[in-house]
Homo-oligomer: 215 residues x 2
């Protein structure tokens, strides 16, 4: 009985409304806390959300459940941004804008840094493959414009994002600015063909181990 008033459009009120709002508050708090420290105790999330621990356990079976949810949300965000970027007419603009938005959203910390702390679902596996396909498409389209150096491979994208995500200061907005600055250097370096990139480029399955559960 999701809406006891019988009016499907009426906003929830009273305790039910508070509970619904808590769903969002808790998720947001969890995002902030685990972004800051992937090993943070679950009590820190409750504190940040301003709720008790039981409010958390009412919604998630355990810490692993919450982590999985956060990671999956990040993955979905990545896919959504990539799809939006593919709709952009200019291939290079689409690629560059995509990176900027993904860096801003801190998607990388949500996915890679949390990987290994839970066993992924099958749906996450599918979404990850889709994310990979979209990345390839985005990259090839950008390279087709001639503005993106031809010797970057899809796996490089993840590494670029990781480099940006590593930058972190206490103030989130300042963090965003510094990452954008870092990304600007990287993009300038990607828009140039000389000198070519050194070393064996990262291979397709080279980072799969990240998703294996830490033993």
């Amino acid at each position: 009985m999701p809406n006891p008033t019988g009016n499907p459009a009426a906003p929830l009120a009273g305790r039910r409304a508070q509970a619904a709002r808590n769903d969002a508050v808790i998720l947001e708090a969890a995002r902030a806390v685990f972004l800051d420290d992937p090993k943070a105790p679950i009590a820190a999330v409750a504190d940040r959300a301003g709720v008790g621990i039981s409010a958390l356990y009412r919604r998630y079976a355990g810490k692993e459940d919450l982590l999985r949810r956060l990671c999956h949300d990040g993955l979905r965000r990545y896919v959504a941004e990539a799809e939006a970027a593919l709709a952009e007419p200019d291939g290079w603009q689409g690629f560059a804008g995509f990176l900027g938005r993904v860096v801003d959203a801190d998607v990388h910390s949500l996915t890679v840094h949390l990987a290994g702390t839970f066993t992924p679902t099958e749906e996450m596996g599918r979404d990850a493959m889709r994310a990979n396909d979209l990345t390839v498409a985005l990259l090839e389209r950008a390279q087709a414009t001639g503005r993106l150096r031809p010797d970057v491979v899809p796996q490089d994208v993840g590494l670029l994002l990781e480099g940006c995500a590593a930058l972190r200061v206490p103030d989130p907005e300042r963090t965003r600015q510094l990452r954008r600055r870092h990304l600007a250097v990287l993009l300038a370096g990607l828009a140039v063909t000389d000198p070519p990139l050194p070393g064996p480029p990262p291979a397709a399955g080279e980072f799969a181990w990240r998703w294996r559960r830490a033993e």
Copy 2:
């Protein structure tokens, strides 16, 4: 009595020699372990070194002592590399080569990632200031050649290094290769003046908080 044979040039032998060798083995193990995980238990260091825990405590008053030593060594390495780079005739080559060697040596993980886990000594403070001065000199010299974009500031160097240090895979040599690849993109982006870097550049004392002890 460092050399009981009385011969100053004779190599140590027997138990004393083993102990001297252990000094190096332990330090090397600590480096590897804490590079991999700054929060690693001290027992992991002993395991990796193939010694017992007491061999560690014989040499260092506690974990904090060991961490401080490791960090200070990294700082000294940074200073040494910077001095060597200043001796190089070409300003741009000196700068680029410096970054490469510092990335290879993983100095950044040794310093910033370990910061906050111990109270620094005064000597470390002096060395840090010296490192800063050398970085400024290196940067200005590179900019004077016209090959380095004029809108990078000394604090950007630390951020570049941090981005590279974030990349890590199980195999150390592969890690080095991937970081070099990342650095190549960054250097290409630094060698170009357009577009200018966005956002307020990092300020002088903006990262001092990293060195305050975690409470």
